[in-house]
């Protein structure tokens, strides 16, 4: 898709939302949740194959030291730290889901749900692999880490349903303008 001025402005606003989504934590017992991954998945659902520009800009802002990641982390430390794989997963999601969103034209909540839940796979695989690599986890410790991640994954699956519910009405808003 060719970039227009309007799309550039939309991408910029989306990046601002990504930053806020990572920053604002909502005290949802027992763990406070952020909307970071929800907004990341929403980006390709709304902006299609241009979504990678937003995610790339977001990651670069973090890389040069702006405190844009969850918990105010930034720089190569955030990218190379234990959760850095998830950040790479974000870029992968934007590329793959963005491409799929452009080419799979089925205007239904089910499509958005399938893409959103599928993107969790794209985020978690590099995330978990890198986590194990950095913390030098092996065998039983890996299993323990995976069990620790299970409640977060359950919450994420729920969040993706919210994302799918948001995607269709918001795409309409974007198309109007």
């Amino acid at each position: 898709m060719k970039l227009s001025t309007r799309r550039v402005a939309q991408l910029a606003v989306m990046v601002a939302l990504l930053i806020i989504g990572a920053y604002v934590s909502i005290p949802l017992r027992p763990v406070p949740i952020t909307f970071q991954d929800a907004f990341v998945v929403l980006t390709p659902l709304l902006l299609g194959s241009t979504a990678y520009i937003a995610i790339l800009a977001y990651l670069l802002l973090g890389l040069v030291g702006m405190p844009v990641f969850t918990g105010g982390a930034s720089g190569l430390v955030a990218l190379s730290g234990p959760t850095g794989g998830f950040l790479i997963g974000f870029l992968l999601t934007a590329l793959v889901i963005g491409f799929l969103a452009d080419h799979w034209r089925w205007d239904s909540w089910w499509r958005d749900l399938a893409l959103a839940e599928g993107s969790l796979v794209l985020i978690y695989i590099p995330g978990v692999l890198w986590l194990c690599h950095v913390l030098l986890l092996q065998g039983t410790t890996t299993l323990a880490a995976l069990i620790g991640l299970a409640p977060i994954l359950a919450l994420d699956i729920g969040k993706m349903a919210v994302v799918a519910a948001l995607a269709r009405p918001l795409r309409k808003v974007l198309a109007e303008g």
Binding site: T5, A9, A12, A16, L56, V77, L170
Partner: protein, 268 residues
Amino acid sequence: MALSNSFVLGQHYPGTSLVHRSGALVKLISTIVLMIGIFVATRTIEYIPIAVLLAIGIITSRIPLGFFVRGLRPILLLIVLTVAVQLFFTPGRVVWQLWFIHVTREGLGLAGFIMCRLVLLTLVSVLLTASTSPIELTDAVSDLLKPLSHIGVPSAEIALVMSIAMRFVPTILEETERIIRAQVSRGARIGEGSIVARMKSFIPILIPLFVSSFRRADDLAVAMEARGFRVGSPRTRYHERHFRSSDVLILGGTALAISGVIVWRLFL
């Protein structure tokens, strides 16, 4: 609703020191080179050349030390976690033992090494962002990405997206708080009830937030086009920068520190 309002753009500490005056692109490149150097080193002692250069940079920048200490705060948990993992799970000669916890000599060494790595990585990027304004920094990123435009990555637009996004964060954060208050005053119950109900309760906040944000984007696009912005057409800069002697100093220092690390790694 605990909206953490801590997103202060106080990352930049304006000044006129040598470090401030040198070019953003030069500083960005030397930061990246130093970070690679930090990853290449395999022993704590190899960090000495980088630490010395960093100390010189911090002192000459005349940025208060508290600024750097504050920059370390976000990674405190990360440091504690990684150090704990290395300390307790590295096999080797046991030097201290309590019930099932063993601390080994090798574990101590590894923990110290990883701590130095994380602290140095953070301080290098804090020095970069503290001494460079966000605008200069995004321009530098765009310069650095320029080669990628040959394979279709819109480097100039990425930099533009970065700087507009930073500008919009405070505005949209304010908007978020307003929407939450408006919905609560209409009787919305946010974060109450079952997990499903709580999840659903965010929809009445997120929809207006996105709608108003994208409306802002439309206004911005109109304003940009009215001022002659076209995607893909070359842009000029208000402040043209030329190579200065301070740039040479920074590049020279970086080259010296990196060769120090390499020599140390290979021959000592």
